[in-house]
């Protein structure tokens, strides 16, 4: 500690001054016996000097300990002024200095020891968060002797020896009722900008497959926000629910990404096809190619104490998306707005908490003749699926007790010649869920610990819940027929109770709905991470 080192020097110098003063005082008092006394004193001084050689080390240690204790006492009781003279960066062979300096910028502005310690802790965490260093040490050293009250900060980093990492895992997607095998390779700090390059492959049985590659820069010179860019090729299969498959290939750029704000631009080529050739009329009309050029802004505040089982706090998310931001009027043009509000408060017994929330969304095309145009099918709101509304904050999508996309407007599918007279065909398989432009969902959930200690220690808890929701069309002049009474009357609701079993590898929910019976949902996240020691 710089402060402690300076005090030692002062005390040592004061101790040295004190020793020098004693012999000068003795010589002035006597004349005759002075020589004898001088000799005696010289002998004593010699003996004293001989005795001081082993003693200074012990006393120095004791002195240092006392000084440290004094310092800590001072730090805890008062503000100890200090100024940072210089920040020295060591150990980075590839990583650019400006990147590390930017992460430890706050240290230079510290004016007290307390601020310096806090800034050093934060800087340490930020450097670790970059993910490109194996270790980060920040040492606070004393400043130059000619500048009292200053400190030098030494940042010593050890760059990762294994920049190539990968992981592979099996995950479940409850909304799609399918599983996916996901793997990714990551290369860290290829250019020395703290950049993270990754390529990932996700293969889902019957549903979604994706290949993507991306790069993330934590900052770039003067731009303090992280920059993200991602190329992706995504294929989603909705044949079972809505008789279409979606293929999207494009690029997304993350322009602003912070705790509360997220701004991203997306340019992608979207194709809707129907290999089954069974689609309903409105789905047939939407098949084909489209260019999506959109910007999406998300504002998020989440003050809940837990994302999985919140018992206190609130969350609010607003997502706005504008499509058609291109000079070409033939791009997909739409406006989409979503709101999510969640609130949780404890009830004071058995760790019980009441969660309630509301989510709503609206979608509308814009441009010439927008009243007669249909909204883009993939952008519409589809309600259904058994994702917990307590845990998800992604707009009006989920409604417990209903199948995936199981709520909302439907249209009859194509009937082939042989089935013309078959009136007993299953209505579910004979209709397409075409989604809606206005959606609203609400829920209330009471979670509580189970009485047995074994369950409580394992985190197994129960919950009662009730949900309601509705989705309707607005476009193609459907809004003319819409009224508040009609919308309210067509609400669907569900209620039930269940038990949640969270583990490290999966989360199981067993729910009972009086109308539909027992439903078991298994959310698996089973990643396996490996490192490759190939240096790039």
């Amino acid at each position: 500690m710089a402060a402690s080192l300076q005090e030692e020097r002062k005390e040592q110098s004061s101790v040295a001054d004190g020793e020098d003063e004693k012999p000068s005082n003795g010589e002035d008092e006597e004349d005759d016996g002075d020589e004898i006394e001088e000799e005696e004193e010289e002998e004593e001084e010699e003996e004293g000097e001989e005795r001081q050689k082993p003693v200074p080390k012990e006393s120095r240690t004791r002195l240092q300990r006392e000084k440290m204790e004094n310092l800590f006492r001072r730090i805890s009781t008062e503000r100890v002024p200090l100024r940072v003279h210089d920040v020295v960066i060591k150990g980075n062979t590839k990583t650019k200095d400006w990147l590390i300096e930017a992460e430890v910028e706050a240290i230079k502005n510290a004016t007290t020891v307390q601020e310096l310690l806090q800034a050093a802790t934060i800087a340490n965490a930020r450097l670790h968060r970059l993910g490109i260093f194996d270790s980060v040490n920040i040492t606070l050293d004393s400043g130059p002797p000619e500048l009292p009250g200053t400190s030098n900060v030494i940042v010593e980093v050890v760059e990762t020896k294994s920049p190539l990492t990968g992981d592979i895992g099996i995950f479940s997607k409850p909304e799609a009722r399918s599983w996916s095998l996901e793997g990714s390779l990551k290369v860290k700090n290829l250019l020395g900008f703290g950049d993270l390059w990754d390529g990932s492959l996700s293969y889902g049985w019957d549903q979604t497959s994706e290949i993507s590659a991306g790069v993330a820069f934590p900052r770039f010179k003067g731009w303090a926000n992280p920059l993200l860019a991602r190329l992706s090729l995504l294929s989603q299969d909705w044949l079972k629910f809505s008789s279409y498959k979606e293929r999207v290939s494009g690029i997304s750029l993350g322009l602003i990404s912070s705790k509360n704000h997220d701004l991203a631009y997306n340019l992608s080529w979207r194709t809707l096809t129907d290999p089954s050739q069974m689609a309903s009329r409105s789905v047939r009309r939407q098949l084909g190619h489209g260019l999506l050029s959109s910007i999406k802004y998300t504002f998020k505040i989440d003050q809940r104490n837990s994302h999985l089982r919140p018992t206190r706090g609130y969350a609010f998310v607003s997502t706005s998306q504008v499509g058609g931001l291109a000079p070409d009027h033939r791009c997909l043009r739409f406006l989409r707005q979503e709101f999510d509000l969640r609130y949780a408060f404890p009830l004071g017994f058995y760790h019980t908490a009441l969660n309630f929330g509301v989510s709503c969304g609206v979608l509308f095309p814009w441009g010439r003749g927008f009243l007669n145009k249909p909204s883009p099918l993939p952008e519409r709101f589809f309600l259904g699926g058994n994702s917990s509304p307590v845990c998800t904050l992604g707009g009006p999508t989920t409604l417990l007790g209903f199948k995936t996309r199981g709520l909302g407007p439907t249209e009859p599918r194509r009937q082939v010649r042989d089935n013309f007279d078959d009136e007993s065909s299953d209505t579910y398989s004979g209709r397409d869920y075409v989604g809606g432009d206005l959606a609203l969902t609400t829920f209330a959930d009471i979670s509580f610990d189970l009485p047995l200690r074994v369950f409580q220690e394992a985190g197994i808890h129960g919950h009662f819940f009730a949900c309601a929701g509705n989705v309707t069309r607005l476009t193609e002049n459907a809004c003319r027929d819409l009224s508040f009474q009609k919308f309210r009357k067509s609400f669907r609701s569900s209620a039930g109770f269940g038990i949640i079993v969270p583990t490290k590898l999966f989360r199981m929910e067993v729910s009972f709905f009086p109308e539909t019976g027992i439903y078991i949902k298994l959310s698996i996240w089973c990643p396996c991470v490996f490192n490759c020691c190939n240096e790039v």
């Binding site: 080529w269 190619h289 291109a326 194509r414």
Partner: protein, 324 residues
């Protein structure tokens, strides 16, 4: 809601966009349009502007019934097989008809595909298929379709000239044979329209209107004046005659044939004359009849006037004799 239900029950042909003065400029869609016109089936025409590389288009829909282009040999064949519209019931077994249609569906179809995607500068294809898509997508799909066309026609860098000669040569032979077959008739077979007429008329109209005058294939078609006259005449009679979007308040409901899959209006013998000709002849006849009647009336009046004058003179002479 009722209006939507009724709209869905109507017959709708979904095709690619109209341009070059044609109701639909796609060479796959135009024959279906003409076929429905020949059958006098009222239908609506909708356009799909965003799916140029789909083999499902054109398709005909009515309620939950859909006849796609890539099923059962095409929309026309689907409509025939499902008993919706069948213009070929009496010629389907005629060998000449079958071979003529095969020539049109192979040699002429290949030649048109070559001319549209490889032999020309692509402006016609751009206008028909990609003008409603954003530029990058349109460009990519155009190059993709050009590549597919070359693969289908077996064209490589080494044999490009030879294949072009072969394709144009076969088209020339086909045009000659068709011109000979048609002669001065109104239709190719039995003086009534069949699907062969629909397919060739679609081909001819596309060649004449969608390609520039510099097109080699177009010039080969123009060498046969009877084929050009045939195309212009039928275009005037069937395509420009009425709108397809309005459904007339018809006595016989052709929509019911889609619902129950029953026989169409064309299962019986065809009518002797088209409606347009009968109207003009009728006008001529009425005009002539009017002249005749007027002439007859004048003759009667003249006769009566002459006859009334001589009878009065005889009566005066008889009175003078009795007085002496």
């Amino acid at each position: 809601m009722d209006e939507q239900v009724n709209q869905r029950e109507e017959v709708t042909l979904v095709a690619r966009k109209a341009c070059f003065g044609l109701p639909t400029a796609c060479p796959s869609c135009l024959p279906v349009y003409i076929y429905l016109k020949f059958a006098q089936t009222p239908f609506n025409l909708d356009f799909n502007l965003t799916y140029p590389d789909s083999d499902q288009i054109p398709y005909v829909e009515s309620g939950t019934y859909v006849a796609y282009n890539n099923e059962k040999g095409g929309v026309i064949e689907s409509l025939k097989e499902d008993g919706i519209v069948d213009l070929d019931s009496e010629v389907a077994g005629v060998p000449d008809w079958i071979s003529t249609k095969a020539v049109v569906n192979t040699w002429l179809a290949d030649a048109l595909m070559y001319e549209l995607w490889v032999g020309s500068n692509g402006s016609s294809a751009h206008k028909i298929y990609f003008s409603d898509l954003p530029w990058p997508i349109g460009k990519f799909l155009y190059f993709k379709q050009t590549r597919i066309t070359k693969q289908l026609l077996g064209i490589t860098k080494d044999n490009a000239d030879r294949r072009e000669e072969e394709i144009y040569g076969k088209a020339t032979i086909a045009y000659g044979a068709l011109a000979t077959r048609l002669g001065d008739q109104s239709f190719f077979f039995e003086n009534r329209p069949t699907s062969l007429d629909a397919v060739f008329l679609g081909h001819a109209l596309f060649m004449l209107h969608a390609f520039p005058e510099t097109s080699v294939l177009r010039s080969k078609l123009l060498e046969h004046s009877n084929l050009v006259r045939y195309a212009d005449k039928l275009r005037t009679e069937f395509i420009e005659a009425g709108s397809s979007s309005s459904i007339p308040p018809s006595h016989a409901d052709p929509l019911s044939s889609f619902a129950r899959g029953g026989t169409s209006n064309w299962s019986s013998k065809p009518k002797s004359k088209p409606k347009k000709e009968r109207t003009e002849e009728e006008k001529k006849f009425r005009r002539r009849a009017k002249y005749f009647l007027v002439t007859q009336l004048v003759a009667v009046l003249v006769f009566l006037s002459l006859l009334g004058g001589s009878h009065d003179a005889e009566v005066e002479l008889d009175d003078d004799d009795y007085d002496d």
